[in-house]
């Protein structure tokens, strides 16, 4: 008997809880709906948070809850850790934080499903309950280890390059076979807790093996997919507990992650299967690959020449990439943009969907540097403007502006939608050195007649540009 509920209310409480869950579900949906515009997004997030508060608060009145010491302790610990993480994280590190949260969400769902299993076992399970249980366990647990690997790659704890070893495909196949065998055995003998633990171990391994061979620059896809899986794990746990609020919210998150995954794959022009199992690409930053090929020359530009080009342009489009985040150059970019705007230059930002390490990464960085969001343009919108643009500044981006994707049918990135910066009057590429992008392929853009290179660390280069602009 729940100590919070007076006995004469006990009959009404279950209905009230269900109605409150319905209200919470509605608040989640309305909250996400308000994310359709930056103007309403913040209130949407708060609506969703209110929904969560209602969902948690009414659950405390559930008749199955009889003691609170674990609950209070757990919530306190979790809230402190969560609040510290949310406050301390740098905007450049958002991909790491989201990866970590993906992992936590996954393992929490797997633990809840496991708790329910150990509570009921060795009593009898229906097949659909077992299915839901197995899905929660597998998806939640593999999301956990997969996300930890993604986190480690993003953080640079392990290299961003795909981790492959001879025969890794054989190992993966064996693990998959082992998983199928043990799942079958578990369905035949659901009361066998040992089998359950073996399944959990295999699921941990699957997460590791799935993400290790994926390159750092494919992280936008991986993070989106893991995000989707945490939702799926929560929804599946909802099936285990017959809890509708979990099903609705988990499904909502699953849909969000899946949509983002598909958008990212489309923006790379690669099917999901190829991203997951193709072991494509390296780190994206300074791969040790050949410099300038023979017979081609690049033109370098100095800060003072660039300042003149920029100051007398009518329209300048800035194309940021992961290099901008690495160099922490978002504020320097904004200051250059301010100086140009003071000279009545029309400054816009063109953002490729897979620029950075997660969907929308560049937008958040630029918002942090106080760039007004109406200046942030999506690929399709900015591509219409580029032929009418005097100067494009490419900062820390490479493959997403490679015209080979449009022109060279033999290029590995042929068909990938790109920002057509080569159609602008002039292009200046901020680069650390003549290395290739993560795809490891040469970029014809660098040798084009209207292209100039500005070598150096993006932040320092932008500061030099600021100095030169001041002197004009």
């Amino acid at each position: 008997m729940n100590p919070l509920v007076p006995y004469f209310l006990a009959d009404f409480v279950p209905t009230l809880i269900h109605l409150s869950y319905l209200l919470a579900s509605v608040l989640f949906i309305l909250g996400v709906k308000r994310l359709s515009s930056p103007a309403t997004a913040r209130s949407g997030n708060r609506l969703a948070a209110l929904g969560m508060l209602i969902g948690v608060a009414v659950t405390l009145f559930d008749r199955e809850i009889i003691s609170f010491q674990y609950i209070i302790a757990g919530i306190l610990i979790g809230a402190v850790i969560g609040a510290v993480l949310a406050r301390k994280v740098k905007m450049t590190s958002m991909p790491e934080l989201v990866s970590m949260f993906n992992g936590f969400g996954g393992i929490a769902s797997a633990l809840v499903a496991s708790g329910e299993y150990f509570r009921i076992a060795p009593a009898v399970f229906a097949t659909h309950e077992l299915t839901a249980l197995a899905v929660s366990l597998l998806v939640g647990t593999m999301t956990f280890t997969g996300s930890l690997v993604a986190f480690a790659k993003l953080r640079g704890i392990i290299g961003g390059a795909p981790v492959v070893y001879p025969g890794y495909k054989v190992v993966n196949t064996l693990v998959l076979v082992a998983f199928l065998v043990f799942t079958t055995l578990f369905f035949l003998d659901p009361a066998n807790m040992g089998l359950y633990l073996v399944l959990a171990g295999i699921a941990l391994l699957i997460g590791l093996l799935l993400v290790l061979p994926i390159g750092g620059a494919d992280m936008p896809v991986v993070i989106s997919l893991l995000n989707s899986l945490t939702g799926l794990a929560a929804a599946s746990t909802g099936f285990v507990l017959n809890n509708h609020l979990l099903i609705v919210s988990g499904t909502l998150v699953g849909a969000a992650g899946l949509i983002l995954t598909l958008i990212m794959c489309k923006a790379m022009n690669r099917p999901l299967f190829n991203v997951l199992f193709g072991s494509f690409g390296g780190n994206g930053v300074d791969a040790d690959l050949p410099g300038t090929p023979d017979g081609k020359t690049v033109k370098e530009v100095t800060a003072s020449d660039l300042a003149v080009m920029a100051a007398y342009a009518r329209r300048v489009v800035i194309v940021p990439g992961y290099g901008l985040a690495v160099a922490q150059a978002q504020h320097a970019v904004r200051e250059v943009a301010d100086m140009l705007e003071a000279r009545k230059v029309d400054v816009r930002y063109g953002i490729h969907p897979v620029a950075g390490r997660m969907p929308g990464h560049m937008n958040v960085l630029l918002a942090e540097a106080n760039v007004p969001y109406p200046q942030l343009f999506d690929m399709d919108d900015i591509n219409k403007e580029l032929p009418k643009t005097d100067l494009v500044l490419v900062i820390g981006a490479n493959d997403v502006v490679n015209p080979d994707a449009r022109l060279n049918t033999s290029s590995p990135i042929y068909g990938m939608p790109i920002l057509n910066v080569d159609q602008a009057q002039n292009v200046v590429i901020f680069k650390r050195s003549m290395n290739t992008g993560y795809a490891g392929i040469d970029n014809q853009l660098f040798y084009a007649d209207n292209s100039y290179l500005f070598f150096g660390d993006a932040k320092k280069s932008l500061e030099m540009l600021q100095e030169s602009l001041k002197e004009l």
């Binding site: 969560g82 633990l111 995000n227 609020l245 499904t251 849909a255 958008i263 929308g360």
Partner: protein
């Protein structure tokens, strides 16, 4: 069996609503969408609360306790960091 059918109905309908609503989120807000989704997937905390407080607890309530911690990190951290990000999206700089 009835319960399963109801659950499936809810699942499928929620998936359609999710796709409909989320496909309208602009690319500019994709990062806050993900961190917000992280927070919402912390809904598993509701399950964790139920699991953590069962009588005659041997393993279950310990698993539930750990689940509460992880899920609360997601809920609190997710909503807070999303709020922090969305605060930065402004039309014009106001100083």
């Amino acid at each position: 069996m009835d319960l399963l059918i109801v659950n499936l109905f809810i699942f499928v309908l929620a998936a359609f609503v999710g796709f409909e609503v989320i496909s309208k989120v602009p690319p500019t807000l994709h990062t806050p969408l993900m961190s917000g989704a992280n927070a919402i997937s912390g809904i598993t905390i509701v399950g964790a609360l139920l699991v953590a407080s069962h009588t005659g607890c041997v393993i279950t309530c310990h698993l539930g306790f750990i689940a509460i911690i992880f899920a609360t990190i997601n809920v609190v951290g997710g909503f807070m960091v999303t709020d922090r990000m969305l605060e930065m999206f402004k039309k014009k700089e106001d100083k």
